[in-house]
């Protein structure tokens, strides 16, 4: 219901190209955000399908549906897709791309064409990763960690998968440098650092991690490829190499990467709470600095993935100590979120429902992270399903739940329509219940000693695995319901007004969906982001 004098939405004016070309060659950050959203969704489904297949295999001991080597390539591809194609790009490239410029009052990101390039690289990487399934001598079977020397010796198609991850790293770097520059250069007049929405702060912190950590992954993966083709011997003990150095290099990137995943999610949560509590956020600066704090400390704890690998005991002690320090800024955030509900005027719509479950699930994941980080206990649970449970709680229960929260929250702005509230809540219920039935038993399994990446297991682990597999179906039902509701509402939902939730950040001041240029007139900002006076 757009008035005559309202500018056309970005759906209607696609630049010089027509049809699909107006999407895949667009430089509009909103269109790129949606491109990413669609691609993320597709890869997520592929990854999830592997997840369901793995659960099916693990429904009973012994061979159920696939052979050992197929199972091994399942969790490898599952891990690679979920990590590199879904959760690392995840929130920044979709919601971030769409809302970062809108929230800081800019017309676009700093480098629109590089933004597009990064999507192309992402697609290239994604397609190569999927191709590694069907080409070469069998799908890669190393796990997403590509540990040397196995990854150098195995005859499967590791090189292509690694190369795909390398390209994806490049794409991630480009997004990172784009966002850092955007935040520095394109804030609207009056938008000082401490007037930025906290989602922007979280993206900013994440972007720095992307810039500073990802190149290490790049070189590490490149070395795997070089090793496979030329046999230089950097990680091969018979040539003097040290396999543990591979692990150092890998985790130097991959630990900070887990904060690339969670920090934007925390940003989304911080954005949603004040809106549905109709009050200002508690402890704005503490939250902003804790994002930076998590990002910074996160660089120096990578060794906690290597407590049983044979590194020196001195370094274990120091890495363990530093690991605990990360818990403190995470805790600050959790407490601030809870405090922001105090004396609010709260309405539990779907976004807030997801946020509340986020806090609960993330706390479980985070607090069990402390058990991982403690030296004595890590020895027992490393490499077991306890770890698998931990990281699904933080990645799925944390990041993905926050992602879903953000999708619902910003849905009316992106598509100009409302989703069905009742259906959304119904889907949430299955998701939440299914999630816990699926992953909680893994904590117990892990504590009982069931190692991860096991195609087959002892009969004593059967019952819990069975429960877990049943949970995966409930979860799948929830996800399907949620996606159907959202997809249906894109066309059929009620028209949304420009500010359905009464939000106070800048994206709610423009029409839904926003016009190409975002703002007719660049706004002048005179106060902080969450003012409900």
């Amino acid at each position: 219901m757009q008035g005559n004098n309202e500018p056309k939405s970005f759906y209607e004016s696609g630049g010089p190209h027509k049809g699909i070309l107006s999407w895949i060659f667009t430089t509009d950050h909103k269109r790129i955000g949606l491109l990413y959203l669609a691609s993320l969704f597709i890869f997520f489904i592929v990854g999830a399908a592997f997840g369901l297949l793995m659960r099916l295999e693990l429904i009973a001991p012994g061979k159920t549906i696939v052979t050992a080597s197929t199972y091994n390539s399942f969790f490898t591809l599952h891990g690679v897709i979920m990590i590199f194609l879904f959760i690392i790009p995840g929130i920044p490239v979709s919601l971030g791309n769409f809302f970062l410029p809108l929230q800081i009052g800019a017309r676009d990101v700093a480098f629109p064409r590089i933004n597009l390039l990064s999507w192309w690289l992402y697609m290239t990487g994604g397609i190569l990763a999927l191709m590694s399934l069907f080409t070469g001598d069998g799908p890669p079977d190393t796990g997403w960690t590509f540990y040397a020397p196995y990854s150098i010796r195995t005859g499967t198609n590791v090189s292509l998968a690694v190369f795909a991850a390398f390209i994806l790293g490049f794409s991630s770097i480009l997004t990172g440098l784009n966002f850092v520059t955007t935040v520095h250069r394109l804030r609207a007049p009056g938008m000082s650092w401490f007037r930025m929405p906290l989602f922007v702060w979280s993206l900013y912190a994440t972007a720095w991690v992307q810039v500073l950590a990802t190149p290490i992954l790049g070189i590490t993966l490149l070395l795997i490829i070089i090793e496979r083709f030329f046999g230089v011997g950097f990680f091969d003990p018979s040539k003097g190499g040290d396999p543990l150095l591979y692990q150092h290099l890998f985790w130097i990137y991959s630990h900070p990467a887990v904060y690339i995943m969670i920090v934007p999610a925390m940003g989304v949560v911080t954005e949603i709470i004040p809106v549905f509590a109709r009050r200002t956020i508690f402890g704005y600066k503490a939250i902003a600095f804790s994002s930076i704090g998590i990002a910074a400390v996160g660089f120096f704890v990578w060794g906690h993935h290597m407590f049983t690998s044979g590194i020196s005991d001195t370094s274990k002690a120091i890495f363990s100590l530093l690991t605990f320090l990360v818990a403190i800024p995470s805790g600050i955030k959790v407490f601030n979120w809870v405090a922001s509900l105090y004396k609010g005027s709260i309405k539990v719509d779907t976004p807030l429902l997801f946020v509340i479950s986020f806090v609960f699930l993330f706390c479980i994941g985070g607090l069990t992270g402390l058990i991982n980080g403690t030296l004595a206990t890590n020895i027992h649970i490393h490499g077991t399903h306890f770890i698998v449970a931990h990281f699904h709680y933080v990645m799925f229960g944390g990041t993905a739940f926050a992602f879903f929260a953000g999708l619902h929250y910003w849905f009316p702005k992106i598509f100009g329509r409302m989703y069905s509230e009742a259906r959304a809540k119904f889907a949430w219920f299955f998701l939440f219940i299914g999630f816990n039935i699926l992953y909680f038993p893994m904590f117990i399994l892990g504590w009982q000693g069931m190692p991860r990446r096991y195609y087959d297991y002892l009969p004593m682990f059967h019952e819990l695995n069975l429960i877990s597999t049943i949970g995966s179906w409930i979860l799948a039902a929830g996800l399907i319901l949620m996606f159907i509701n959202l997809v249906r509402s894109i066309k059929k939902g009620e028209r949304a007004e420009s500010n359905p939730w009464k939000g106070t950040t800048l994206e709610w001041t423009v029409p839904s969906p926003p016009p190409v240029e975002n703002f007719e007139e660049i706004p002048v900002v005179t106060q902080g982001p969450y003012k409900y006076e």
């Binding site: 500073l212 290490i216 150092h248 660089f299 590194i311 370094s315 120091i318």
Partner: protein, 96 residues
């Protein structure tokens, strides 16, 4: 107007040639120094000189000298991060 946006005026040729001469001289010094066999100290001196050379290139050729605060400070980030990477890795390698 354009000058304000690019941040600095053209650096004159002389400065560059001077820096270049210094760089060549430093290279000569490194080679000379490392001809004496000094073991650990040799590598330290060589790296120190290399750092000075890198600083000259950064500061003049790469115009860091003429850039704003962001560039100067941000530049320290990757360096600090890298030093920590090496340091923490050596906590393992050294004590293993």
């Amino acid at each position: 107007m354009e000058q304000r946006q690019t941040g600095h005026a053209a650096v004159n040729y002389k400065t560059y040639i001077l820096i270049w001469t210094a760089l060549l001289a430093l290279t000569a010094v490194t080679i000379a120094v490392t001809q004496f066999h000094m073991g650990g100290a040799g590598i330290l001196i060589a790296l120190l000189i290399a750092s000075v050379k890198a600083a000259l290139i950064l500061y003049f050729f790469m115009h860091l000298r003429y850039e704003g605060r962001f560039f100067k400070l941000a530049f320290l980030l990757p360096i600090i991060v890298f030093i920590f990477f090496i340091g923490f890795t050596f906590l393992d390698v050294f004590y293993r």
